[in-house]
C-alpha cells in the first residue's frame, strides 16, 4: 500500500483489520499506517467505517481479524487504558466530558499531578490546564465545571486533554465540527507543532479544505473498505470525492413517474438557536423529497422540530395550508403527519410489546371500547397493513424485538400508514437493514408517494437519496445549502453542498484557498 516504506516502523499501524457488529460489516480488511512526523487524513462518507476504525485504535473495540502494530510489533489494545499507555490519544467526535467536574479535572482525570502521599496537586493541575489553554489560545477557567460549556468549548477541552498526554499518536475524529475559523487555525498550528516534534496524527474531517490544508497523506474509505492512500500533493478534492463515492448508483431503485400535486408540508424560516436556521422547504403530494447532508448537519433536528418533538425558536410549519402549533406531536399526528424516527429501537417501537400492538399504537383509541383495547380489533387492524407491507413475522403476538431490522422498520411504517397520513417523514429509513429488505422499503416509499402521500426522507446514503428523491435538499451546518432537482442531483453535487462548498462556485480540482501553507 505504501509506496515508500519508511526506515522506522510506524508508531501505529492497523493491519488487515476487520470488525463486524452483528450482521453489519463495519470494517473489512483495512490497513493504515500512521508515521512519525506525519499528518494522515482519513475521508469517507457517513458509515464508511471511520468511527469504527477510531474505536479500534482507541482500544474501545478489538478487531475480529487483523491486528494493530505499535512500532512494528503486534499488540492487543484491551481497552482505552491500554491504548493510552501505548501513547495513543483520541479526540472523539462527540465530546466525552464529566459535566459535574471541573475543566481541569476533566483534562487530567486519572492522571492528575500528584504531590506527597499521592495526593492530587490541585495547584499544579490548574497551572498545567491554564498552560494547555494558552497553547490553544483560548481562555477557559480551569475551575469551572464542564456543565454549561458550549459544544465548541467542550471540543477545546477535549483537544487540551489530548495534548496533555504528550501522545506519540493523536487521533482526531472530526475535531473541527463545532469550531470557529480562529479556533481551527490554532488547532492546526498545534497539530503542525506536534508533527514537528515527531508525533503521528490521524485527522478525520468532512471538510476537504481542512484535510488538504493539514494532511501529508490521505486515505479514503468506502463501505468499510480501504479505497486508496495517496500523498495529498498528488490528490485533488475531486479525486477524493470520486473515491469516496465510487460505486455505481444501484439500479434497484423503483422507477417512478412523479406527479407532484398541491403543496402539503410547508416549512418557512424554521430556526433553532445553535442548531439550524432559516430552513424553508415545501413537500408536495406524491413527491419524495430527500434531506441530505452529513451527520450533525441538523437534518434529524429539523424533522423532529417539524413533527413537534423538539422546540424551535422561529419560523412556521403548515400542513395542507393550516399552521401546526409548535411542540405538539399529537397535533402533528392529527394533521396527518407521521414520523419514522432514525432510531427505531429507541424511538420507533416498544420492543417488548407484540408486533400487532406496535403496529396499531397510533390508533389505540379507535380500537378500544370503554377505554379498553380490544385484542381482536387490534389483531385484525394490524393484519391488514402487516400483510400489505409483507412483514415476515412468525407470530404477530410475539414481541417486535424478535423481528429482523428490516421487518421492524416495516412495522414502524405500518403503524403510521394505519393512520392514513398526508405527510410521512422518514429518518434514515434503511439504516442497518439488509440489502433485500432495503429494496422493499424503497419500493414501499415509492408506492406511498404514488398514492399521493408527501414523503420527506432524511438519508445519509447518497445512492438512496439519488435513487429515491424527486428533489434533494442538502444541509450543511444547520442551513440548507442546495436544492437540487432530480436531474441535477449527482453524487458530486450533493457531496460538495454537504461539505459546505459550492458545486458550481469553486473551480473543480483547484486547490481550496486554505491549501497553501
Amino acid at each position: 500500500m505504501a509506496p515508500h516504506p519508511p526506515p522506522d516502523p510506524p508508531p501505529l499501524a492497523l493491519v488487515d483489520a476487520a470488525k463486524s457488529f452483528g450482521m453489519v460489516r463495519a470494517l473489512r480488511g483495512v490497513s493504515l499506517d500512521l508515521r512519525a512526523g506525519e499528518i494522515h487524513g482519513l475521508c469517507g462518507e457517513n458509515g464508511a467505517g471511520k468511527s469504527t476504525l477510531v474505536a479500534l485504535l482507541a482500544g474501545v473495540h478489538q478487531p475480529d481479524a487483523g491486528h494493530i502494530e505499535i512500532d512494528g510489533a503486534p499488540v492487543a489494545l484491551s481497552g482505552p487504558a491500554a491504548a493510552q499507555r501505548a501513547g495513543v490519544a483520541v479526540i472523539y467526535q462527540e465530546p466525552t466530558l464529566f459535566p459535574d467536574l471541573s475543566v481541569a479535572e476533566n483534562i487530567f482525570m486519572g492522571r492528575q499531578p500528584l504531590r506527597g502521599g499521592r495526593r492530587i496537586d490541585r495547584r499544579a493541575m490548574r497551572t498545567a490546564t491554564a498552560e494547555l489553554f494558552a497553547r490553544l489560545g483560548v481562555r477557559i477557567d480551569p475551575d469551572r465545571p464542564a456543565r454549561g460549556l458550549s459544544i465548541a468549548d467542550q471540543q477545546l477541552v477535549e483537544i487540551a486533554k489530548a495534548l496533555s498526554f504528550d501522545a506519540r499518536v493523536l487521533v482526531m475524529d472530526e475535531p473541527t465540527a463545532a469550531l470557529s475559523g480562529v479556533e481551527v487555525r490554532r488547532l492546526f498550528a498545534v497539530a503542525r507543532a506536534l508533527r514537528g516534534n515527531g508525533a503521528a496524527i490521524l485527522f478525520i474531517s468532512h471538510r476537504f479544505d481542512e484535510v488538504f490544508a493539514l494532511c501529508d497523506r490521505i486515505t479514503v474509505m468506502r463501505d468499510g473498505g480501504h479505497v486508496g492512500t495517496g500523498r495529498a500533493a498528488d490528490l485533488t478534492v475531486d479525486a477524493v470525492v470520486r473515491q469516496m463515492v465510487g460505486r455505481d448508483i444501484a439500479t434497484l431503485y423503483p422507477e417512478r413517474t412523479p406527479a407532484p400535486g398541491a403543496p402539503v408540508l410547508e416549512v418557512e424560516e424554521l430556526g433553532r438557536r445553535g442548531v439550524f436556521s432559516g430552513v424553508g422547504f415545501t413537500v408536495r403530494a406524491g413527491e419524495v423529497v430527500a434531506l441530505a447532508g452529513l451527520v450533525g448537519a441538523g437534518r434529524s433536528e429539523v424533522v423532529r422540530a417539524v413533527f413537534g418533538i423538539d422546540r424551535y425558536d422561529s419560523g412556521t410549519v403548515a400542513v395542507n395550508g393550516r399552521p401546526l402549533p409548535p411542540n405538539r406531536p399529537a397535533a402533528a399526528m392529527a394533521a396527518g403527519v407521521g414520523l419514522v424516527p432514525e432510531d427505531r429501537r429507541q424511538q420507533g417501537l416498544v420492543m417488548e410489546l407484540s408486533v400487532e400492538r406496535n403496529a396499531t399504537l397510533t390508533r389505540r383509541w379507535a380500537l378500544s371500547r370503554f377505554g379498553l383495547l380490544r385484542r381482536g380489533a387490534e389483531a385484525s387492524a394490524a393484519a391488514g397493513w402487516l400483510g400489505r407491507l409483507r412483514v415476515k413475522a412468525g407470530d404477530t403476538a410475539a414481541p417486535v424485538a424478535t423481528l429482523s431490522g428490516g421487518n421492524q422498520q416495516k412495522v414502524v411504517l405500518a403503524k403510521w400508514l394505519a393512520g392514513e397520513p398526508a405527510v410521512l417523514i422518514v429518518d434514515e429509513p434503511t439504516r442497518g437493514i439488509d440489502v433485500g429488505t432495503k429494496a422493499e422499503v424503497h419500493r414501499l416509499l415509492s408506492e406511498l408517494a404514488g398514492q399521493g402521500i408527501a414523503v420527506l426522507m432524511v438519508s445519509s446514503e447518497l445512492p438512496e437519496v439519488l435513487g429515491m428523491a424527486d428533489r434533494v435538499l442538502v444541509m450543511h451546518e444547520g442551513r440548507i445549502t442546495a436544492e437540487l432537482h432530480r436531474d441535477d442531483a449527482t453524487e458530486e453535487a450533493v457531496m460538495f453542498a454537504a461539505t459546505g462548498q459550492h458545486a458550481g462556485g469553486t473551480a473543480p480540482g483547484g486547490p481550496p484557498p486554505e491549501a497553501a501553507r
Binding site: 464529566f98 467536574l101 465545571p145 454549561g148 470557529s180 471538510r207 459546505g500
Partner: protein
C-alpha cells in the same frame, strides 16, 4: 472557513466559556449552608420551647444517636456518587451487630479490637457480594441491593434463630465504648467524625476518589478515559459494607441488646440523609460532609419533635417534606448555576 461561533476573528486570545463561574460556585456552597441553617433553626426553636434540649447530656445523646446514621450516610455517599445505591446497609448493620455479640458470647475474653475488626470484615464481605453483583454481573444496584437486603436479613434470622444477645454476654470494656467520652464527646461520635473527615479527604484528594465522581457523572466517558470503572464501583461497595459493619459494632456496644431485627428499615433513612445533604441521586456530585450534615439534621428532627410535643406520626411527614424541599432546592440551584455558567446573567437580580 467555517461558520464561526461568534468569536472575534482578530482577537489574539478568545474569551471562552464565559458566564459567572464564581457565582455558580457560590451557589453550590449555599447548599451545605442551607442545611446548617435548618439545623440551627430547629435547635434554636426547640431550645426556646424547652431549654433542657441544650443540656450537655441531651447533646451527648443526640450526637450518639446521629453516629450510626452519619457513618452509614458516608458509606452510602461513596456508592451514590458512582450512580449506584446500596439498600442493604440496614441488614448488613444488623448482621454485623449480631455477629459481634455472638463472638463475645462464644469467646468472652476476646480483645475488643478483634471483635471490631471482625464486624467490619463481615460488613466488607457483604459489600463485596453487592459490589461483585453490580460491577461484574452488571445488574442494576437498586435490584441487587434490594435482593441482598432480604438475603442478609434472612441469614441474620437463620443465625439468630429467635435468640437474643444481652449486655451480660458482652465484656464491660466493649459496652463502655458507647459510654465513655473524650472531652465530653462520646467515643462513637469521634469515630464518626474521623470517618467523615477521612472519607471527605480521600474523595477530594486522591485520584481514585475523583474517579468515583467521574464514573457517576458520565459512565461512558469514564470508560473511554481508561478508568477501571468496575473495580472502582466494587471498591465503593466494599468500603460501604465495611462502614455498615463498623456501624453494626457500634450499635452492639451502645445498645447491648441484639436480635435479628436490628437495623431494620435503616436503609431508607440513610439514603434520605444523603439526599437531604445534597448528594445527587444520579451520581457525580455531593460531599460526605453534606451527607453527614443531612444525617445530623434528620436525627435532630427526630429528637426535637417529641420535645416540641409534636406527635410521632408527624415525624415521617416532616422527613418526607424535608427530602422534597432538599430536592427542590437542588433543582433550583442547578438551574441557576447552569444559567450563570452559560453566561445568561444572574436571572434578573
Amino acid at each position: 472557513m467555517s461558520a464561526g461561533s461568534g468569536t472575534g476573528a482578530s482577537a489574539p486570545v478568545a474569551e471562552h466559556g464565559g458566564g459567572d463561574v464564581r457565582g455558580a460556585r457560590r451557589l453550590r456552597q449555599v447548599r451545605e449552608l442551607g442545611i446548617l441553617l435548618a439545623l440551627a433553626l430547629i435547635v434554636a426553636a426547640t431550645a426556646v420551647a424547652n431549654p433542657g434540649f441544650l443540656s450537655g447530656q441531651s447533646i451527648r445523646d443526640l450526637l450518639l444517636s446521629a453516629t450510626l446514621l452519619t457513618i452509614l450516610a458516608v458509606g452510602q455517599t461513596l456508592v451514590i456518587v458512582t450512580r449506584s445505591v446500596d439498600l442493604s446497609v440496614g441488614s448488613v448493620l444488623g448482621l454485623a451487630a449480631f455477629a459481634t455479640g455472638t463472638l463475645f458470647a462464644a469467646f468472652p475474653g476476646l480483645p475488643v479490637a478483634v471483635a471490631v475488626l471482625a464486624g467490619v470484615a463481615l460488613g466488607a464481605v457483604c459489600g463485596a457480594v453487592n459490589g461483585a453483583l453490580v460491577a461484574v454481573a452488571r445488574v442494576p444496584a437498586l435490584v441487587v441491593t434490594l435482593g441482598t437486603l432480604y438475603a442478609f436479613r434472612g441469614v441474620d434470622y437463620w443465625w439468630a434463630a429467635g435468640t437474643q444477645i444481652n449486655a451480660a454476654d458482652m465484656p464491660a470494656s466493649f459496652l463502655g465504648l458507647g459510654r465513655t467520652a473524650v472531652l465530653g464527646v462520646p467515643v462513637p461520635a469521634l469515630v464518626a467524625l474521623a470517618v467523615v473527615l477521612a472519607a471527605g479527604w480521600y474523595l477530594a484528594s486522591y485520584r481514585s476518589g475523583r474517579e468515583l465522581y467521574a464514573i457517576g457523572s458520565e459512565p461512558h466517558a469514564a470508560r473511554l478515559s481508561g478508568i477501571p470503572v468496575d473495580r472502582r464501583i466494587f471498591a465503593a461497595f466494599v468500603v460501604n459494607g465495611a462502614l455498615a459493619g463498623l456501624a453494626g459494632v457500634l450499635y452492639a456496644a451502645r445498645f447491648g441488646t441484639l436480635d435479628a431485627t436490628v437495623g431494620t428499615g435503616l436503609e431508607l433513612q440513610v439514603v434520605a440523609a444523603a439526599v437531604v445533604g445534597g448528594v445527587a441521586i444520579f451520581g457525580g456530585s455531593g460531599t460526605v460532609y453534606g451527607a453527614a450534615l443531612g444525617a445530623v439534621l434528620l436525627t435532630t428532627i427526630g429528637s426535637a419533635l417529641p420535645v416540641l410535643r409534636v406527635s410521632g406520626f408527624w415525624q415521617q411527614a416532616v422527613v418526607g417534606l424535608l427530602i422534597l424541599v432538599a430536592i427542590g432546592m437542588d433543582r433550583i440551584l442547578a438551574v441557576r448555576a447552569a444559567r450563570r455558567l452559560r453566561g445568561g446573567g444572574p436571572d434578573g437580580t
